[in-house]
């Protein structure tokens, strides 16, 4: 199956492991990705924070290019990019004047703008029903599925799963043998763009999330967004200094969890790039995964 692909800026930079594990897993599930030629950054929170028109123009250019290159659907693994692209498509479909304005600005006709889908929507489609038999090492750990605030919200733009207490990632985790926990911070914000200017805020918000997950016995937090991952993983020290507790719970991408279950090795999944070492408890399948120098 062939699928349009809008990688987003962080997937080759601060969250390379997300890109690596995504490609590894999709190759294992024989899904081929075709990157959109010359895509540009979606502007994430910076654009819409300062200039609404810019926040439409930036994603519009990438969508126009994708349309020109014949894509109907685009996989957008990063939740922020997914939210921006989906919001832009909805806004331009509703406002013809704006659409024509931007179309002649980027000098590309924008007739039927490709639909962007997020990682969970794609996995829902491609994960085979009999996945359980194909697993080499079932990922049977207690996990806290963390959706973040943009993956399923707002419903008018995203139209996927439930806005409160979503379930799709939990279903996917069950398919690979994990035991998703019923916890209370599935869609509470991790601090997103404040990672650099207000790291203390990220520390506070992430501490709340980690605290709840750990207190319910989660062995790993599963995410599907590079910004959530970097705040929960890279900013671990800020969370620990805020709450005064030590958190060793690893943060895994959905693709990494699936990769492990399919038996792909840690290097391919970029586990060595994590700040918080991915040490999954001896317990069941005693997987001690070494990682890069601490």
């Amino acid at each position: 199956m062939k699928m349009g692909y809008y990688p987003g800026c962080s997937i080759s930079g601060s969250s390379r492991e997300y890109g690596e594990s995504l490609l590894a897993v999709l190759r294992a599930l024989d899904v081929e990705l075709a990157e959109v030629e010359d895509w540009n950054c979606c502007g994430a929170s910076a654009a819409h924070n300062l200039n609404h028109t810019l926040s439409l123009a930036l994603p519009a250019r990438s969508l126009a290019l994708a349309e020109q290159q014949g894509f109907q659907e685009l996989l957008v693994p990063c939740a922020a990019c997914f939210s921006r692209l989906a919001a832009t498509r909805k806004a331009l479909m509703a406002d013809d004047a704006k659409r024509r304005q931007i179309a002649d600005l980027v000098e590309l006709p924008m007739k039927n703008i490709p639909v962007s889908i997020n990682l969970l929507q794609l996995l829902q489609r491609v994960l085979p029903e009999n996945l359980k038999e194909k697993l080499r090492a079932p990922f049977d750990y207690k996990v806290a599925c963390y959706y973040g605030c943009l993956l399923v919200r707002p419903a008018e733009v995203v139209e996927f799963d439930r806005e409160e207490d979503p379930e799709e990632m939990d279903r996917i985790m069950e398919k690979i043998g994990a035991a998703p926990l019923d916890w209370a911070f599935k869609t509470e914000c991790c601090g997103a763009g404040f990672s650099v200017p207000r790291t203390d805020v990220v520390g506070r918000l992430c501490a709340r999330i980690l605290d709840d997950a750990v207190s319910r016995g989660a062995e790993a937090v599963i995410v599907a967004c590079p910004m959530c991952h970097s705040n929960l993983d890279m900013r671990r020290q800020a969370s620990e200094s805020h709450s005064g507790k030590k958190y060793t719970i690893p943060i895994l991408y959905v693709t990494q969890a699936i990769g492990l279950a399919l038996g792909l090795d840690a290097k391919q999944l970029g586990l060595q790039r994590h700040i918080v070492p991915v040490r999954l408890s001896a317990g069941k399948s005693s997987q001690i995964l070494e990682n890069a120098p601490a």
């Binding site: 439930r162 806005e163 409160e164 207490d165 019923d182 209370a184 709840d212 207190s215």
Partner: protein
């Protein structure tokens, strides 16, 4: 030559502001057949009416056109004026210059021209009106009351006490409705069972009331004064005459694990059960979905223990037919379940319950026998959070209206909780306190001042569970929206009052209109709140919109007054707008050729066959004949008849033809 009077009304500013009434009156004066044409500030006022009366007398008018508001509003008024001045009321028509013209168009010549067209159209119609006389129809002096809640009970008792027969139909095994589920009632905190049970017994013992419980309306046909209704008495699987209500079967029944609807799922009941101790009639019902005999064909314990052998497993549903003269709809409402709220956990937290469930917990006959224990582990909650406006006033959730009673029963809940758990702490998250009834606001103040209920102004954003506690995330908008987080043991949502399941289907059976929330629509929100657009069908209680007990009882007595007024007349006069088959001289006798295709078109089966015999008794011809008693004047047959042999009085072929021709000339 017709002598028509045209009376153009300014309706104060309502018409005068955008329509040049003088020009309309002046233009109509030129229409052939118009003998008198004036405009006046308020036609419907007394001076306006006397103006018409004098004009009829002085100009010997043979028809009147009042150009004012909608005929749905004042047609009766002006027709009464005409009949008082000796002019047949059906020679008076109204042109709708207000709702259909002045209120909806800008002030311009076009609008005034349209007004003139509308009046001219009605003048042509009135020229061809014939004097008609009301039809006398007998009135069956029996009332049908649907719904055995407090409204139904009150309506039934009032009508029965007025000396008329009443048939009370209740869907559940016992009458009592939601009121029987309440612990105590605001604002006086008297126990609901104590004030309700006597009324229920009075209904059961009243000679004029025939009570059908565990029964539903199957169909309703006919019209005011002459309804034919069929009621489905669902099989109780026991013979009511033999059963003494001893309750032995309900104690011996082995199947005890069925969630009790009466206790809103908090308590359990047996397969053969009586909903609550004071049930009227105190006769059990077998729940065929769960009873082991019906599901697996075994058990029959109740049959064995029954001292009077009253159990009838093979009992079938029974259809009972009755003729009634009026219908009072008092089917009540229900409240939203907690699974309706995504942000409060989609109903997965056991200790997040709705108002009705907390009533059962407070109620002495409830699953916890009146002690406040939380459903999850039965512990006494130390901290209880009450959330007002849960679902109501929430357009995002599709319920934009206020459910009217939640502020009051939330204050009551908090108060009763404090009375039972003195050391407990009660919080109420509210947006506005709507306590507008008599002694209502004083009641909520008592909750705050005497029972120390902590009222916080702000709506709760989210509830989640953390090691056994329910974390309620709110904000106090009176303190610069300062976030407030409370660890609660129990959360009670005052959920929105919504229409019952099946309200839409019932409305269609009764030909009563309903709004987008499936509440029944009253004839006029201010002036006819207890009537519907269907003559003879009245509304009482929460089925029309959520309301508290005093208002429901008030409305119920209102409908009883309406029914009593209807039954005070032996004969009912009905609008003479009925179809008539034309008759001509012999040998044709009528242009109707007797194809009788109109007979199958008539929804009221009002068309019969009439054999025309000549002098020596031979049947010359069989033609259609309309029974004026049954015909409701819809005109479906009239537009259908190929040879135009049947016509509708008030909307004859000539009249509508003239209206269209005039309108476009």
């Amino acid at each position: 030559m017709a002598r028509i009077g045209v009376f153009v009304c300014h309706c104060g500013e309502n018409i005068g502001a955008t329509v040049d009434c003088a020009r309309v009156a002046e233009a109509c004066r030129k229409i052939p057949g118009v003998a008198h044409s004036v405009d006046y500030k308020y036609m419907c006022s007394d001076p306006g009416q006397t103006l018409i009366r004098e004009a009829i007398a002085q100009n010997k008018l043979t028809g009147v056109v009042v150009a004012a508001c909608s005929p749905r509003m004042h047609e009766p008024t002006f027709r009464r004026v005409c009949s008082e001045s000796g002019l047949n009321p059906y020679l008076c028509e109204m042109a709708n210059l207000r709702e259909h013209c002045s209120w909806v168009h800008e002030k311009s010549d076009v609008t005034t021209d349209k007004a003139i067209d509308l009046v001219a159209m009605l003048v042509e119609k009135v020229k061809r009106n014939k004097p008609l006389h009301p039809i006398k129809v007998p009135v069956t002096k029996t009332a049908l009351v649907l719904g055995g809640g407090i409204s139904g009970i009150q309506a039934a008792l009032d009508i029965a006490n007025a000396g008329h027969k009443v048939i009370l139909v209740e869907r559940d095994p016992s009458i009592g409705g939601h009121m029987s589920q309440l612990s105590e009632t605001f604002p006086t905190l008297d126990c609901s069972q104590c004030i309700l049970t006597p009324r229920m017994v009075e209904v059961a013992q009243h000679p004029n009331i025939t009570l059908y419980t565990y029964s539903e309306l199957e169909s309703l046909d006919g019209f005011i004064g002459n309804f034919k209704t069929r009621i489905r008495k669902k099989a109780r699987s026991l013979d009511e005459k033999l059963c003494t209500g001893c309750g032995l079967c309900t104690t011996k029944c082995p199947n005890k694990k069925i969630p009790s609807e009466f206790n809103t799922g908090l308590g359990m009941r047996t397969a053969i059960y009586v909903p609550f101790p004071q049930a009227v009639p105190n006769k059990p019902v077998i729940d065929r979905e769960h009873c082991t005999y019906y599901t697996k064909g075994r058990c029959r314990v109740c049959e064995k223990v029954c001292p009077t052998q009253a159990i009838r497993f093979d009992q079938e549903d029974q259809i009972v037919e009755h003729e009634v003269g009026a219908v009072v709809v008092a089917t009540g409402f229900t409240v939203k379940e907690t699974d309706f709220f995504p942000e409060y956990g989609y109903g997965k937290y056991k200790d997040v319950i709705n108002g009705l469930q907390f009533e059962r917990i407070l109620s002495a006959s409830g699953p916890t026998l009146g002690e406040v224990k939380r459903p999850s582990d039965g512990r006494v909650p130390e901290t209880v959070v009450f959330i007002a406006c849960a679902g109501s006033r929430d357009p995002a959730k599709g319920i934009e209206y206020c459910s009217k009673i939640c502020c009051m029963y939330t204050a009551k809940h908090a108060m009763l909780y404090k009375h039972k758990v003195h050391h407990g702490q009660a919080y109420v998250f509210y947006m506005d306190i709507r306590a507008a009834g008599k002694m209502y606001d004083e009641f909520t103040r008592r909750a705050i001042e005497e029972d120390h209920v902590q009222y916080i102004r702000g709506r709760v954003s989210r509830i989640y569970e953390r090691n056994g506690k329910l974390i309620v995330q709110g904000a106090d908008t009176l303190l610069n929206a300062m976030p407030v987080e409370i660890e609660a043991d129990l959360v009670v949502l005052a959920t929105a009052g919504v229409a019952n399941e099946g309200a839409e289907a019932l409305a269609q059976k009764l030909h009563v209109s309903y709004d987008s929330h499936k509440f029944f629509v009253e004839a006029h929100p201010k002036l006819r709140p207890v009537e519907t657009n269907t003559a003879g069908v009245f509304l009482a209680g929460a089925c029309q919109s959520p309301k508290d007990i005093p208002e429901s009882v008030g409305q119920a007595s209102g409908t009883a007054a309406k029914v009593a007024a209807l039954f005070s007349m032996d004969e009912l006069t009905r609008e003479p707008v009925v179809a008539v088959v034309n008759r001509t001289a012999p040998p044709l006798y009528s242009t109707c050729v007797g194809c009788f295709l109109c007979q199958s078109a008539c929804p009221y089966q009002a068309i019969e066959r009439e054999e025309i015999k000549n002098r020596n008794g031979q049947v010359v011809k069989t033609i259609a004949k309309v029974n004026p008693g049954l015909c409701q004047g819809c005109g479906t047959c009239v537009a259908f008849c190929r040879s135009k042999s049947i016509d509708l009085q008030g909307y004859t072929h000539e009249q509508v033809y003239a209206e269209v021709m005039e309108l476009l000339s």
